[in-house]
């Protein structure tokens, strides 16, 4: 089961979907909104997804887990839209006959989700907001100077 939803997530219901009598081990990961990020108080988070592709990539991850760990019973649910502090934005549940595969596959699923699934997290602080992991997109003062120079040259040309 793979789900991207604006609704609050129900971890227990998602976990129950992977349970089967042949599975002795169930590992569930909950990702929740933290109150502080890099020392700054977070007001809330906002998640955005390219949903069509995100579903496709999450299915790819399920297939990777099948190939790599032999696990069949995987549920992934991601909440999008605003998420308050302490609320759950991600649930990954993996069940398997034995525990080792369930732990490794669940951890790997979360790692891969953060690498390849087109979902974005915006941290909203009291005094601003930023999209997480986009530091390389900050304009340096050199960029800004170059930009200004171009504009000045353009003006000269007119």
């Amino acid at each position: 089961m793979i789900e991207i939803t604006h609704q609050p997530l129900n971890p227990e219901e998602i976990t129950d979907r992977v349970r089967q009598d042949s599975n002795g081990a169930v590992v569930t990961f909950l990702g929740a909104t933290r109150d502080f990020s890099e020392g700054k108080r977070v007001v809330h988070l906002e998640y955005e997804a390219y949903e069509e592709m995100a579903y496709k990539k999450l299915e790819e991850i399920r297939q990777e887990l099948r190939d790599e760990f032999g696990v069949e019973d995987v549920a992934i649910a991601h909440r999008i839209g605003p998420v308050d502090i302490g609320q759950v934005s991600l649930v990954v549940a993996v069940a398997s006959p034995h525990r080792r595969e369930a732990f490794l596959a669940c951890h790997e699923a979360v790692n891969r989700l953060k690498q390849i699934v087109p979902i974005w997290k915006k941290e909203v602080f009291e005094d601003g907001a930023h999209w997480v992991a986009c530091e390389d997109h900050d304009f340096s003062s050199a960029d800004i100077a170059a930009e200004t120079e171009v504009e000045v040259l353009d003006a000269d040309d007119d």
Binding site: G31, Y47, E48, A49, Y50, E52, M53, A54, K56, H78, S89, L90, V110, L113, K114, Q115, I116, V117, P118, I119, W120, K121, K122, W131, V132, A133, C134, D136, H137, D138, F139, S140, D143, A146, E147
Partner: protein, 81 residues
């Protein structure tokens, strides 16, 4: 040819819109398209950043050739979880 381009998250905010349309020659590549969008929205990303593009819901290489009707999206660094 006229191609529709969706923008998400940081790119959507910086462009001020989530959907734009650019005109590129037949045979244009993903890199050509990204250049065209960046010319329209110079504040999208600093020059040294390579923008990731998805074509038909799959990450695409810069040299991929585009066709009319392709579903194209600009993908800023992802951060789900």
């Amino acid at each position: 040819m006229q191609l529709s381009v969706r923008l998400f998250a940081l790119y959507r905010e910086r462009a001020g819109c989530g959907l734009t349309s650019v005109d590129v020659p037949e045979g244009a590549t993903v890199a050509d398209l990204a250049d065209a969008v960046r010319r329209r929205f110079p504040s999208l990303a600093p020059p040294e950043v390579q923008i990731v593009v998805a074509v038909n819901e799959e990450y695409a290489e810069p040299e991929t050739v585009l066709r009319a009707g392709d579903e194209i999206c600009l993908i800023p660094p992802v951060s789900g979880g």
